[in-house]
């Protein structure tokens, strides 16, 4: 990319968006049958898969908490997620940092005290990286947790904003992200007075512009949360419809081994 303009004189960005425009959002829930809850989340070309297992008994007993659930998180980037092959080593430090960011955000969101002595595993895999992966990861993880029916204080929505060529830009893609400007990643609880649960910033930014950029990022988060809500509602509706259809279908279905039939019968009288 030539050291060119990130915002054209017409006010369009490299990918044709306006400065305050999000990339196209897409989300799919329940994509993995083995996971308790799973979600695929896309922000433009960034594509992230999240899977939640649990709540289940704690695997390592020394880590067990009498009062709340513990949350384990694993973040990984698929080797094919970036165009150029990345060297390992430094990338792992980045992965640890993002893992911590995701875990921190979800620990503040999940009502862990309702599930004492249990463990929740969250796996996040970046399938395609095009900037804003940590935000996409948080959004995907949130949807997967919601799909797993784990009680949450609120939805959590995340979005980044940057500042290039004296313009605040919403939801930076990879090219803009590597432009060397500041990048502020924010996650909020939208129904909780937009309470900020995560704020990370790369590069320095004047305090006045920071406020502008933060405001823009929070507005982006709100838009993302609206989208997530809609998707969750659609998914629940589809599930309910499928369940109704299923109940009408199998009247005599469900042949277990005869032991199990008896077990079910025990509570019938």
């Amino acid at each position: 990319m030539p050291a060119a303009e990130y915002v054209s004189p017409e006010g369009l960005r490299l990918d044709g968006r306006r400065p305050k425009e999000l990339r196209q959002l897409r989300a799919e829930l329940g994509v993995l049958s083995s996971a308790t809850g799973s979600a695929l989340f896309e922000m433009g070309n960034t594509k992230v898969l999240a899977a939640v297992f649990g709540p289940k008994p704690v695997e390592q007993r020394s880590q067990e908490d009498e009062k709340r659930a513990i949350i384990k998180c694993e973040y990984a980037m698929a080797t094919f997620s970036t165009g150029e092959r990345r060297r390992r080593g430094k990338a792992d430090r980045r992965a640890t940092e993002i893992t911590m960011a995701i875990r921190n955000t979800l620990e503040q969101t999940i009502l862990t005290e309702l599930l004492p002595r249990s463990q929740i595993d969250i796996y996040v895999q970046v399938l395609q990286a095009d900037g804003g992966t940590r935000c996409a990861c948080i959004n995907a993880a949130c949807l997967a947790v919601a799909a797993a029916a784990i009680p949450m204080r609120d939805l959590v929505a995340s979005c980044a904003a940057g500042y290039l060529e004296s313009t605040p830009l919403l939801d930076l893609n990879y090219l803009e992200d590597s432009g060397g400007g500041p990048d502020v990643a924010v996650a909020i609880h939208p129904n909780y007075d937009n309470r900020v649960v995560l704020l990370q910033q790369d590069n320095r930014l004047a305090i006045e512009t920071f406020e502008q950029v933060l405001e823009l990022a929070v507005a982006g988060c709100r838009a993302v949360s609206g989208f997530m809500r809609e998707r969750l509602q659609e998914h629940t509706q589809a599930l309910a419809a499928a369940q109704d259809a299923g109940e009408q279908d199998d009247v005599g279905g469900g042949d277990g081994e005869d032991d199990d039939d008896d077990v079910m019968g025990v509570d019938d009288f």
């Binding site: 919601a146 129904n191 909780y192 997530m228 509602q233 998914h235 309910a240 077990v263 079910m264 025990v266």
Partner: protein
């Protein structure tokens, strides 16, 4: 008309409603904590049900976790003179998704003559038992009790492998071999 709500959504004022399952009280509001369908249950006569209750019901499967006081159905996996180790299969009428282990200690088998109880004369591995959850127990297993008339063995196979018929609250008989075996039998119809 069903209303689908998402976590964090305000459902009602906490002064006017009670918070049911799938909700939590946040300041003066009752908010959803799950994705699901909002339901309002009308106020009842009882002391605890003065106000209508809002709850969020999930359309999918909700995780089933045994709690103290629940009646569970469990299968005996192992016995020794001090206790019977069981796997919990169902909580009430709902099957559990994963394995929960429990123990019925010798003092929790029946209500009377506790010191005369012999585990091997009460349960055998493979028996299906109805029991009540006493407590969450230690880190490994739930503590269960069968010290009530309606609790105990509900299904057992004889040495010949045939499901047995209860004779009394302490005995079961094999219909083919007529052999009588000892069990702590549950009184089912009451």
């Amino acid at each position: 008309m069903t209303e689908i709500v998402t976590p964090g959504e305000r459902l009602a004022l906490s002064a006017e409603y009670d918070a049911g399952t799938g909700t939590c009280v946040k300041d003066t509001f009752i908010c959803a904590t799950l994705v699901g369908i909002k339901r309002v249950l009308p106020a009842g006569q009882a002391e605890a049900e003065q106000r209508p209750r809002v709850e969020v019901v999930r359309s999918g499967v909700e995780p089933v976790v045994p709690r103290a006081g629940d009646t569970v159905t469990a299968r005996v996996v192992r016995i020794n003179p001090r206790l019977a180790a069981v796997d919990i299969l169902c909580v009430g009428p709902k099957p559990v998704q994963q394995r929960y282990s429990g123990v019925i200690r010798v003092q929790d088998v029946r209500a009377t003559e506790i010191d005369k109880v012999k585990i091997e004369a009460s349960f055998r591995p493979g028996d299906v038992v109805r029991a009540e959850v006493l407590s969450l127990g230690d880190a490994r297993s739930y503590h269960l009790t069968t010290a009530q008339n309606q609790l105990g063995v509900v299904y057992a196979r004889s040495a010949a492998g045939v499901p047995m018929v209860p004779l009394s609250w302490q005995e079961m008989q094999c219909p083919t071999t007529k052999a009588v075996e000892n069990r702590k039998v549950a009184k089912l119809d009451a």
